[in-house]
């Protein structure tokens, strides 16, 4: 069965495998952004954080020989950028979107500058867990080589949902995001809450970046992210600020991204530009179908500058 062709079965398999392989960075960035936005701030700079995480993770893994150290450093680099965003936004009359765009440029620029010596070397990669051991088919085995970070992301989503709904911390975060005045009246430190939320969001995005360079596609170069960070920020709106919906949105995006190459490899080659655009068409369609001119998006934190 090793060299057998799967024919049409290859398409659903590729979409499933693609959903697992490609979705992880989307998942981490969108979970991080979800947390940040729940506190009432948008951090558009996560594209920069993702690229910075990819670079610093790859560099650390290469220099220390330990890919997990790379994941940690990527997360820390991400939270550093998050702290920077929160600290600037804490000043009077600063627009968080503008700061986010500035940080996106800073993050990518810095990563390109510092990452120059690491384009060529090969860093050790994160190990994958072979969940496909039961299958005789090489294709299925390869599709089910799942990276532990993906599982961490899957576990994180319900944990975040639970934390936001039922813990005191989650409640404080939501109050700050829903009504800064109420939070101030109750004596909660708005800026500190937002700082922590943005730093945590940055940490997740950085870890998502390290997945790109240390697992899939598993190499550092400057076009690595090609806009995935920005897409993930949009996914949060798409997922209605619900961490569990973020998982589904990320899987959908990952799978849709795999559709183009998979169809071409089985021989459906007409109109591949359209298939390559599938994820974006899908987002647009769902956004249009679910939006309304009469009320703000369900679940949107009231303090977000875009929904206010």
């Amino acid at each position: 069965m090793d060299h057998a062709s799967l024919g049409w079965w290859g398409v659903p398999l590729a979409v499933l495998a693609g959903a697992i392989r490609v979705s992880t960075p989307f998942l981490f960035v969108s979970l991080g952004e979800c947390l940040t936005e729940k506190s009432g701030r948008i951090n558009l700079g996560l594209e920069g954080t993702l690229v910075m995480g990819a670079m610093s993770g790859y560099a650390t893994a290469y220099l220390t020989g330990n890919p997990w150290a790379g994941v940690l450093v990527a997360g820390l680099a991400g939270s550093l950028l998050g702290v920077l965003h929160a600290a600037i936004c804490a000043l009077e009359r600063v627009n968080d979107i503008a700061v986010g765009i500035a940080l996106m440029l800073l993050g990518t620029g810095l990563a390109f500058f510092l990452g120059k010596p690491f384009i060529q070397p090969q860093a050790p990669q994160l190990p994958a867990i072979p969940f496909g051991w039961w299958s005789g088919s090489a294709q299925v085995r390869s599709a089910l080589d799942i990276n532990p970070l993906f599982l961490v992301g899957l576990a994180l989503a319900p944990l975040l949902l639970w934390g936001l709904r039922t813990t005191r911390w989650g409640m404080v975060l939501r109050i700050v995001g829903e009504s800064a005045e109420a939070a101030r009246a109750m004596g909660y430190p708005i800026n500190r809450v937002r700082l922590l939320a943005t730093a945590a969001g940055g940490f997740f995005a950085g870890v998502g970046g390290s997945f790109l360079s240390l697992s899939y596609p598993g190499s550092w170069n400057e076009r690595l992210s090609s806009g995935q960070g920005i897409t993930a920020v949009a996914l949060v709106i798409f997922a209605r600020w619900d961490p569990v919906l973020c998982v589904w949105a990320s899987l959908l995006f990952g799978g849709a991204g795999a559709l183009g190459p998979a169809l071409q490899s089985v021989g459906v080659t007409q109109g591949y530009h359209l298939f390559n655009a599938a994820p974006y068409v899908l987002t647009l369609a769902i956004m249009i179908a679910t939006s309304s001119s009469r009320h703000r998006l369900a679940g949107a934190p009231a303090e977000l500058s875009v929904t206010r």
Partner: protein
């Protein structure tokens, strides 16, 4: 109006100061005549120069020039195909005194290189990939490119011997003539060994899309392709993915052998080191370089990567025999009858297109045996 006046006064002042300064330097410094002999050469790349691909191939050429006596080499990476390349060339010319420039990316040519060449008629601009046309383009511009599909044909032969599934995978960026020519030559080479072989093509849509390239590689392998090759800016991700999945790969642009010690068969590489050192020797010797340089294996513009461990003796012998014919110029890849993959005849019986045939530079079909379409 006032603005234009002020600008011109300022540039006049600047020129005068610069000229004065140079004059003073010339008078005051005893080593100036020795300096004048140093040829300052600028290389501009569109991406990072260690990308295991297009830019690395050029940077290896620049490194060979650096080793020559009497030259000073300037390099700038990641120069976008916009007015930025004009600015970069300007600063190389004005600040560093560059008199020979190699803007190495296709999109630099029109209008940026042409504009700069008109502005500095006494300097030489040699561009990779463009098609210099006499009468239309300035004479101090040259363009050079190679028939790398000859090496792709040889890669196809080697791939055919290595493949057990008789299915090859080709990951390409865009369906433009140069890319289609590589796909077709690779496939024709493979099918010259075994006419049942097919090549599945996946177009990613852009020159550098690491995630999509990895997805394409995985999909092709899932569909049974057991030799992958590509035409993208940096084949690193594709060659690494093939190695991880335990299939073979042939390289492109530069050698990726170190990335896949088990599965790397051979590859089609540019030999810019020879091209660039030849150009520089001409300029140093006071010869004007030719405006249009084209060539393949025979002219030394193209080379193949050394065979990997997995290449069988039969494959080596076959590929070496064809390579020898390329070297003496007797081999023609596009010799009729050739059909495209829709069944139409594209090269009629008895007709043949040699490498220099301009008809090949507007190729818009995929040869029989390729699974894929260009729209």
């Amino acid at each position: 109006m006032g603005n234009a006046l002020r600008f011109s006064r300022r540039s006049v002042l600047k020129t005068m100061t610069a000229a004065g300064g140079l004059g003073a330097l010339g008078a005051g410094l005893p080593w100036t005549p020795a300096m004048a002999k140093t040829l300052v050469i600028g290389f501009l790349y569109v991406g990072p120069r260690d990308d295991y691909g297009y830019n690395q191939a050029h940077a290896e050429g620049a490194a060979a020039v650096k080793a020559m006596p009497g030259v000073k080499v300037l390099e700038e990476e990641k120069v976008p195909e916009t007015v930025d390349v004009e600015n970069s060339m300007e600063s190389m010319i004005n600040l560093d005194g560059a008199s020979l420039l190699f803007p190495t990316s296709f999109g630099y040519f029109d209008p940026y290189v042409l504009k700069e060449a008109k502005k500095h008629p006494d300097l030489t601009f040699l561009h990779c990939g463009g098609l210099w046309t006499p009468g239309k383009h300035p004479t101090n511009v040259g363009s050079y490119f190679g028939y790398i599909d000859e090496a792709e044909y040889l890669s196809g032969i080697v791939a055919a011997y290595a493949s057990k599934s008789k299915k090859l995978g080709f990951i390409a960026a865009k369906p433009i003539p140069q890319v289609l020519r590589n796909i077709n030559s690779f496939t024709l080479g493979a099918r010259s060994v075994d006419p049942t072989i097919t090549t599945a093509v996946v177009f990613t849509g852009d020159w550098s899309m690491p995630v999509k390239e990895a997805e394409a590689a995985n999909s092709l392998i899932d569909q049974g392709a057991d030799v992958l090759t590509c035409h993208v800016d940096s084949p690193k991700v594709i060659v690494e993915t093939a190695e991880k999945r335990g299939v073979f790969a042939t390289g492109y642009h530069a050698s990726q052998a170190t990335l896949a010690p088990k599965g790397y068969l051979t590859g089609a590489e540019w030999n810019w080191a020879k091209v660039y050192t030849d150009f520089v020797k001409m300029v140093q010797g006071g010869i004007t370089p030719p405006n249009l340089v084209r060539g393949g294996l025979k002219e030394g513009i193209i080379k193949t990567s050394p065979y990997g461990a997995a290449v069988s003796d039969a494959a080596r012998r076959h590929a070496d025999a064809v390579k020898a014919k390329f070297m003496d110029g007797s081999f023609v890849i596009y010799k009729g009858p050739i059909k495209d993959n829709k069944g139409n005849s594209v090269v009629a019986e008895g007709k043949s297109h040699g490498q220099t045939d301009i008809a090949l530079e507007s190729m818009n079909w995929l040869v029989e045996g390729v699974t894929g379409s260009i729209s």
